[in-house]
């Protein structure tokens, strides 16, 4: 099959440093303003109030979080918001040492999927862990939300700063 591999030109750093290749650049300016929608709109409003909420599906009976206008399994409208606790259980986590552009972080971030108490089993949300040594984090660990003070909340997922161990 070797003969059916094209001899593609592999550029090296030296090619750029020596000015052997020409290129054009462009920096996009594209700002977006997303409407939060029916279900997440309420979710964000309740975050501003210092509360986590889910929704109830009248067909499968599950309590879903993040809230959604319809249950994607049953394809019927959910029928109401349900208050949840601001505690939960770590389903999985990572200890992240790099930023999106691969620059190393001075202090690692600990992203986690946290199953929220009061929702149906396995209903997790993505958030961060804090006030815990990375080595001490375990799957199954019980955690509680650490909220921004009310005057700093703006109706965003970041109104919860992070989750910290319950102990």
């Amino acid at each position: 099959m070797k003969e059916f591999v094209y001899d593609t030109v592999y550029l090296s750093e030296e090619d750029f440093e020596a000015g052997r290749v020409l290129y054009e650049t462009w920096k996009p300016v594209a700002r977006y303003a997303w409407d939060a929608g029916i279900a997440i709109g309420r979710y964000l409003a309740e975050l501003k109030n210092g509360r986590l909420v889910g929704v109830h599906c009248p067909s499968c009976g599950r309590i879903l979080v993040p809230p959604r206008m319809f249950c994607q399994d049953c394809f019927v409208p959910t029928d109401g918001f349900v208050p949840l606790q601001d505690t939960g259980t770590v389903i999985t986590f990572s200890i992240c040492h790099i930023r999106w552009d691969m620059v190393r972080l001075e202090h690692p971030l600990i992203p986690a999927v946290i199953a929220i108490d009061g929702a149906s089993p396995g209903m997790g949300i993505l958030h961060l862990l804090g006030e815990v040594a990375p080595q001490a984090v375990r799957i199954g660990m019980r955690v509680r939300a650490v909220w921004k003070p009310p005057e700093e909340r703006e109706g965003a997922i970041t109104d919860i700063r992070y989750f910290k161990p319950l102990e």
Binding site: F4, P66, W100, P111, I157
Partner: protein, 388 residues
């Protein structure tokens, strides 16, 4: 439902490189022209074109399939583009299959291309947009998070160590040393090299991950009456399957890819496969990260849940093992130009089943293989079964 029999009759590709001088369109042409050359056809012989390519954001051009179309031989022909993230390369073969199986076309040129290097400073800047724009992106995620979170869930569920998983990276990068298009082949890499590589997002380390890559791959698909005229070794598409799970990924069991199983069951049923472990001789599951090969082998029903690592340690998945897995070298070794990477896997089965894989040829004249890709927000499985 009556369907026409469809074969792959030709394949070609570019070298996979970190940064190609060629534009995306030029890469597409390189692969397409090699695929046509391999079966001695010209563009005049092609009825329709399928283009597989991932987000516009990598290239920064709008309507990427229209941009690529002349490099793919699409001008003046019926053209379609499919896109399901990393699952695209196999989806494009599925689309090529139904173009021909339906009787609508006799010949289809399938081209998958990705040039990730244009997106500066890092293509992760484009990848970030896969996270939910309101409830997740504000947390400052990067693409590695979802893999790290899934890998940890998989390891914890089955009590696996990093060493168990690193064996996959070693196997694939060594296999890739025999691939003439490979970016990261290394015949001497060891488990210690993987375990000592830079920690990016634990448990993911540098050598657990496939590289950012530029490249393109193309295959020619044909109806039976054309295939038999073009080649004496047509590779038949025996089954296809694809399946999408919910985008609420934090609500799912991350330790098992149910959507891959559903896609595999669809493809196996079509292929008449009732015992995949006996009836499939070679597998090219999607391996952008080392644990993903294991995850996908289980989803493809080739090993019990949690047992693919043990099979790997026993050498079963080596090129000379009972079930060779990623004899190409996979994404970890050959490289990962997103859509093109998965089509590379299909091309590898084509060459292996025809006995044309050279130094990579698996012994025992394999008769049937499965290729699988995965993508979107950890939610899509695409599967094809090929046989000779």
């Amino acid at each position: 439902m009556a369907r026409n029999r469809v074969a792959i009759v030709g394949a070609g590709m570019t070298k996979f490189v970190r940064r190609a001088q060629e534009t995306s369109k030029e890469l597409a042409w390189e692969a397409a022209s090699k695929a046509l050359e391999s079966c001695e056809l010209t563009l005049d012989d092609i009825d329709a074109v399928v283009i597989g390519t991932a987000p516009e954001a990598f290239d920064g051009v709008h309507m990427k399939s229209e941009y690529l179309s002349d490099g793919c031989g699409g001008w003046g022909k019926p053209v379609i583009r499919g896109y399901v993230g990393g699952g695209t390369g196999v989806l494009s073969v599925i689309q090529g299959w139904y173009h021909v199986a339906s009787g609508l076309f006799d010949t289809v040129l399938v081209v998958a291309e990705e040039k990730m290097s244009a997106c500066q400073p890092h293509p992760q800047g484009a990848f970030i947009t896969i996270f939910d724009n309101i409830t997740e992106r504000a947390l400052g995620p990067n693409l590695l998070w979802i893999f790290a979170l899934e890998m940890n869930a998989y390891m914890t569920r089955y009590g696996l160590s990093k060493r168990d998983i690193a064996l996959v990276s070693v196997k694939n990068k060594r296999n890739a040393a025999d691939h003439p298009a490979a970016l990261l082949g290394d015949p001497n890499i060891t488990v210690e090299d993987v375990l000592n590589s830079e920690v990016l997002a634990w448990p993911v380390q540098r050598l657990d991950v496939s590289p950012v890559t530029d490249g393109a791959v193309a295959v020619v698909m044909a109806a039976e009456h054309v295939a038999r005229r073009v080649t004496n070794k047509p590779v038949w598409v025996e089954g296809v399957g694809w399946n999408l799970d919910t985008a609420y990924w934090t609500n799912r069991d991350l330790s098992y890819p149910t959507y891959v199983e559903e896609a595999a069951r669809m493809a196996y049923k079509m292929a008449g496969i009732t015992e995949p472990r006996k009836q499939i001789h070679i597998a090219e599951p999607y391996d952008p990260f080392d644990y993903k090969e294991l995850h996908h082998l289980e989803g493809l029903l080739l090993f019990d849940k949690g047992k693919a690592p043990e099979a790997t340690a026993l050498g079963i998945t080596q090129r000379d093992g009972d079930l060779p897995v990623c004899p190409s070298g996979g994404l970890l070794g050959v490289g990962n130009p997103i859509a093109a990477a998965a089509l590379m896997k299909v091309a590898e089965l084509f060459w292996q089943l025809r006995g044309e894989a050279g130094a990579r040829q698996v012994p025992g004249q394999p008769k049937r293989g499965v290729a699988q890709a995965w993508g979107d927000l950890m939610q899509v499985g695409t599967v094809v079964v090929l046989g000779i």
